[in-house]
């Protein structure tokens, strides 16, 4: 189903304290790249479950991006 980019049922992604939106139908990898993050440096969690980069995001999805790099 075609979805305009500003659809209210867009995908929500959170990273650290920031929130981003993405278009449904996009892969996790594409959404992560669009935010400007390196897919190698984050993990995506949806409904408490880890999901792989190839997963296609659906409208209303809430995805938490977990940074995996620490600098200590």
């Amino acid at each position: 189903m075609p979805q305009p980019a500003d659809n209210p049922s867009a995908v929500t992604l959170t990273y650290r304290r920031e929130t981003f939106t993405a278009r449904p139908g996009m892969t996790v990898r594409k959404a992560v790249e669009q935010i400007g993050l390196n897919p190698e440096s984050v993990l995506a969690v949806r409904d408490g479950q880890l999901i792989t980069d190839e997963v296609v995001l659906e409208s209303g999805d809430r995805v938490k991006l977990v940074a995996t790099i620490s600098g200590g």
């Binding site: 189903m1 075609p2 449904p24 139908g25 996009m26 892969t27 390196n38 897919p39 190698e40 440096s41 993990l43 969690v45 479950q49 880890l50 999901i51 792989t52 980069d53 190839e54 997963v55 296609v56 977990v66 940074a67 995996t68 790099i69 620490s70 600098g71 200590g72």
Partner: protein, 339 residues
């Protein structure tokens, strides 16, 4: 426009939905098979690199972060009776985190206490009968790390060198006094590759000569040190913690911001994006060049190590070691002046 449908990535072993895809291994796995894979790989690395034997007593240095808690979890799952060591550094959230705190310490509610909370939760979730050694720096040596650093360093420099010196001392002491055969730390491949990149950019041959997953003690006051997770990507350890439901401290130590290590890790991950596996190759081929081609063999400086009369740990100069001298100075400077 219709969204292109991608086939779901499935686990190599059971056709369930994969939770992780490791491009460098061309391997995608579901949660249970991933956990199983991590356990088997770790057991293999411990054996292959001669880290320790099943009957050895292992002390795990736990910080509350994902890697060290994952390591403890893995060793317990593999049946090693591993004990933990937590070092309370007394680090707060840093300036700006708590508006009521302008010293950057907020003792009692900061980074260190939050880290300790996660470790206590970890132990409790496993029935609470794991041994956790706790050393509180302020209680034992008279000042928190930030407070001590302020009186030893010029200005407001980072406390990291004092922190590292103190942690090393405590780890060696607890391992030795507790009769442990080996001290295990949670360093992952990203940690090791970032250090290798730094050492290579500087051609620090004596560091390069020493860097590796197993460090035999060069003095009776030192513990044998091993890094059982050194072949796992940092991303894989974060995934392991999530899949196993291990809660860990997500925030960084406030003094770690802008650390060179994080920059090197970013650079390596940018390379990894276009060349999956390059990070792992960089590190493994370094180890191979050392072993097979004797690279840096001549850089091994055989320092004459002396023994500190106060603590029994090694020192290169006669008299007290750097640790003892530094903390003596801290206590002198912090002592209320006598009238």
């Amino acid at each position: 426009m219709t969204a292109k449908r991608y086939p779901l990535m499935l686990c190599r072993h059971c056709d369930a939905k994969a939770v992780i895809n490791m491009r460098q291994h061309k391997l995608a796995l579901c949660g249970p098979h991933y956990v199983d894979w991590v356990h088997k790989q770790t057991a293999r690395f411990i054996d292959e690199y001669g880290m320790f034997a099943p009957e050895d007593r292992v002390l795990v240095a736990v910080s509350g972060g994902k890697d060290s808690l994952a390591l403890w979890d893995i060793l317990l799952a593999l049946g090693y009776p591993a004990d933990g060591l937590y070092i309370g550094l007394g680090i707060g959230w840093g300036i700006g985190h708590n508006p009521d705190d302008d010293t950057g310490e907020s003792e009692g509610q900061g980074y260190s206490d939050t880290s300790y909370g996660y470790i206590q939760d970890f132990v409790q979730a496993r029935g609470g009968d794991q041994t956790l050694h706790v050393v509180d720096v302020a209680e034992e040596f008279g000042a928190t790390i930030p407070a001590a650093a302020r009186v030893t360093n010029r200005g407001r420099e980072k406390p990291c060198s004092l922190c590292g010196l103190t942690k090393r001392h405590i780890m060696n002491r607890v391992a030795r006094d507790g009769g442990y055969d080996v001290l295990a730390t949670g360093h992952n491949l990203d940690d090791e590759a970032a250090v290798l990149l730094g050492n290579t950019l500087q051609w620090s041959v004596d560091y390069l000569a020493r860097q590796g997953p197993v460090m035999p003690p060069s003095h009776p006051g030192l513990a044998r040190k091993v890094k059982p997770l050194f072949r796992f990507y940092e991303r894989e350890m974060a995934a392991y913690a999530i899949v196993r439901g291990i809660d860990y401290i997500y925030e960084e130590c406030p003094f770690a911001t802008g650390a060179t290590t994080a920059r090197y890790k970013d650079m390596l991950n940018n390379l990894e994006l276009s060349s999956p596996g390059i990070k792992l190759q960089f590190y493994l081929r370094f180890l191979k060049a050392k072993k097979v081609n004797n690279l840096f063999e001549n850089a091994h400086r055989t320092l004459d190590l002396l023994t500190c009369p106060t603590c029994g740990q090694p020192t290169t100069n006669p008299g007290e070691c750097t640790f003892c001298r530094t903390w003596d100075r801290v206590r002198d400077r912090l002592a209320p002046s006598r009238t």
